[in-house]
């Protein structure tokens, strides 16, 4: 039994080790959300500092509204980009070492997804700590459930990143596709402004955007406002995450060196 889990555990361990060694990744992944919270958040928080503004954001001040969204964004970015390590492994050859091994392919890929997802959630946790320092109306009891939503989100988008990376061969191509998808998904997730004020076509995009449900769920627990029922959020996230994980496993199962 423990032997069967070995590939899973060791790949998660490897992702950790590598992450801690690449300081640049740690710094950029935390710096970006800090810039959003500090420059975007604090700036607008002052502009929205009038009694009626709270109504726009469901009854809370702008920073309380924004910070769970930025946390979700940080987790999403870190996990989606994490797929780049698969491309590195392709280019630097480590993938071959894994493909020729007699171990369960599913165990290997899920271990690596798990490892990267935990890393992404830890980055989200750092942003969450910062949020509590800046926004004063966040609910500390919401941290744990919010982290659970963040973890499911991270599993889903790490899998999506890995799937994409398995299909792509060049670093440039991967980064292009990722950055092309990332911005619209973030803006259309309700992280920065409420969905209900979006034009109708935008709303529809927001409804099919998986990130929307993570932002909404996390905001429900941390700020106390939400668009959907948090259980709906959870269900949608779980389905999408399961689908991406299955896709990544299936693709990796069939991977050959090409």
């Amino acid at each position: 039994m423990s032997r069967a889990l070995d590939p899973f555990v060791i790949m998660a361990y490897r992702q950790f080790r590598r992450f801690l060694r690449t300081k640049a990744r740690v710094v950029t992944s935390i710096l970006n959300p800090i810039i959003w919270i500090a420059f975007f958040g604090l700036g607008w928080a002052n502009a929205f500092n009038f009694p009626m503004a709270k109504a726009i954001f469901g009854g809370v001040d702008y920073l309380t509204f924004l910070t769970p969204g930025v946390t979700a964004m940080a987790v999403f970015t870190a996990s989606f980009i994490g797929g780049v390590t698969v491309i590195w492994d392709k280019q630097f050859g480590f993938l071959k070492e894994v493909l020729v091994a007699p171990a369960s392919r599913t165990g290997i890929i899920l271990g690596r997804i798990f490892g990267d997802a935990v890393i992404a959630v830890l980055q989200g946790l750092a942003i969450m700590a910062l949020s509590f320092a800046i926004a004063h109306n966040l609910n500390p009891y919401g941290v744990l459930p919010a982290l659970a939503y963040a973890f499911i989100l991270a599993l889903g988008f790490t899998s999506a990143g890995v799937t994409l990376a398995l299909k792509m061969t060049s670093m440039e191509g991967f980064q292009m596709v990722i950055s092309l998808l990332m911005m619209p998904l973030i803006f259309l997730s309700g992280a920065f402004y409420p969905i209900k004020f979006m034009p109708d076509w935008m709303k529809w995009v927001a409804y099919i955007n998986p990130l929307t449900y993570a932002v909404d769920g996390m905001r429900h627990y941390l700020s106390g406002v939400s668009t959907f029922n948090p259980l709906t959020d959870l269900a949608v996230l779980c389905v999408i995450t399961a689908a991406f994980m299955a896709l990544a496993s299936k693709l990796f199962e069939k991977a050959t060196i090409d």
Partner: protein, 336 residues
């Protein structure tokens, strides 16, 4: 199948319209060092990838350590270690971590794993460097670490794809030493590919010469060299109008066989070159042949390749620019 470590029967691999391996059959005995010698692009790496279960053959069958490479790929994977031509280490990790992760993936653990890592790192003399990140290792150190890693789980068959490609002569000699020790201390069968004549000659108990995806000769280095004769004389004959075909003119004792090569070169198989050369030159002059160059040597594997294909193995290697072109071509090729 049991007395052979590797058996291949008519292996074929096609990539689209390109045939990389055009039906190779061979057998490797347990405990020997068997080599695939041939120029770049001859199909050596593709053959290794098929035997190591990383590519499915288009046709044909093969067994490694008694297991079928497609139907029993997991059993094959458990019985082999592979050192790829391109690096396959995780350079952000230390030497020890690379070994540890490999061991865990192969189902090893605890004291057994720790002991074996130390043993193998000492074997390739990297134990002192075990806690350094691989990205600071030299090419030779990386190669040694890859050999140690491939041996960690005690494979029955070790595949080495161009084990000394791009290494300096001293490091190459060092790696040959390890490979010989592996055979002498027993236990592991080694299948290697190379395009270096000296490497094939130094290391291989038996070898197959491969060109354009086909095996064109097979045997011990000495058997192969005997194909060419005990001495071989190379003559460059200038084309003159009315002169007879040089091989027709000279194919009589002491010449045992004459073979035309490229650019007016002919290769003459003789038993003693020092005595044969004056006789041949005299005869050539009397037949109206203009001899521009003469040389002779004891046959090497290079002469064997030249004799069998009319080209030198090195021609394929070419200049640095050609090499890069080759790399680019391979990359493009892989991307499809």
């Amino acid at each position: 199948m049991t007395e052979y470590a590797v058996v291949a029967e008519g292996l074929v691999k096609k990539f689209g319209s390109i045939t990389a391996v055009a039906g190779v059959s061979f057998k490797v005995r347990y405990g020997e060092i068997f080599g695939f010698l041939g120029p770049n692009g001859a199909g050596k790496t593709t053959t290794i990838h098929m035997l190591a279960t990383l590519l499915k053959p288009t046709a044909g069958d093969a067994w490694v350590a008694g297991h079928h490479i497609v139907k029993e790929s997991d059993a094959v994977r458990r019985s082999i270690g592979v050192v790829f031509q391109d690096p396959s280490l995780d350079s952000e990790l230390t030497a020890y971590e690379n070994m540890y992760i490999h061991g865990k993936i192969y189902g090893m653990s605890g004291e057994e794993l720790r002991y074996r890592i130390e043993e193998m790192l000492r074997f390739v003399e990297l134990y002192e460097h075990r806690n350094r990140l691989v990205k600071y290792f030299s090419g030779g150190m990386r190669r040694r670490l890859e050999i140690a890693r491939a041996l960690l789980h005690k494979p029955k068959v070790l595949f080495l794809d161009e084990p000394t490609l791009g290494l300096d002569p001293q490091t190459r000699a060092h790696i040959w030493e390890y490979i010989r020790r592996l055979r002498d201390e027993g236990g592991v069968t080694i299948f290697l590919t190379t395009h270096y004549m000296d490497e094939a000659e130094e290391l291989c108990d038996r070898l197959a010469i491969i060109d354009h995806g086909k095996i064109i000769a097979e045997g011990t280095p000495n058997q192969l060299k005997r194909l060419v004769g005990s001495d071989v004389i190379y003559l460059k004959v200038r084309a003159v109008n009315g002169a007879p075909n040089p091989c027709d003119a000279l194919s009589a004792p002491p010449v045992m066989e004459c073979k035309p090569l490229r650019e007016g070169m002919i290769a003459l198989k003789v038993s003693d070159a020092t005595q044969a050369i004056p006789v041949i030159l005299e005869k050539a002059a009397s037949m109206g042949l203009k001899v521009a160059e003469v040389s002779y040597r004891k046959p090497t594997l290079n002469d064997v390749f030249l004799y069998l294909t009319g080209r030198e193995i090195r021609e394929e290697e070419g200049s640095e620019a050609d090499f890069l072109k080759h790399v680019i071509r391979v990359r493009r090729f892989r991307r499809r």
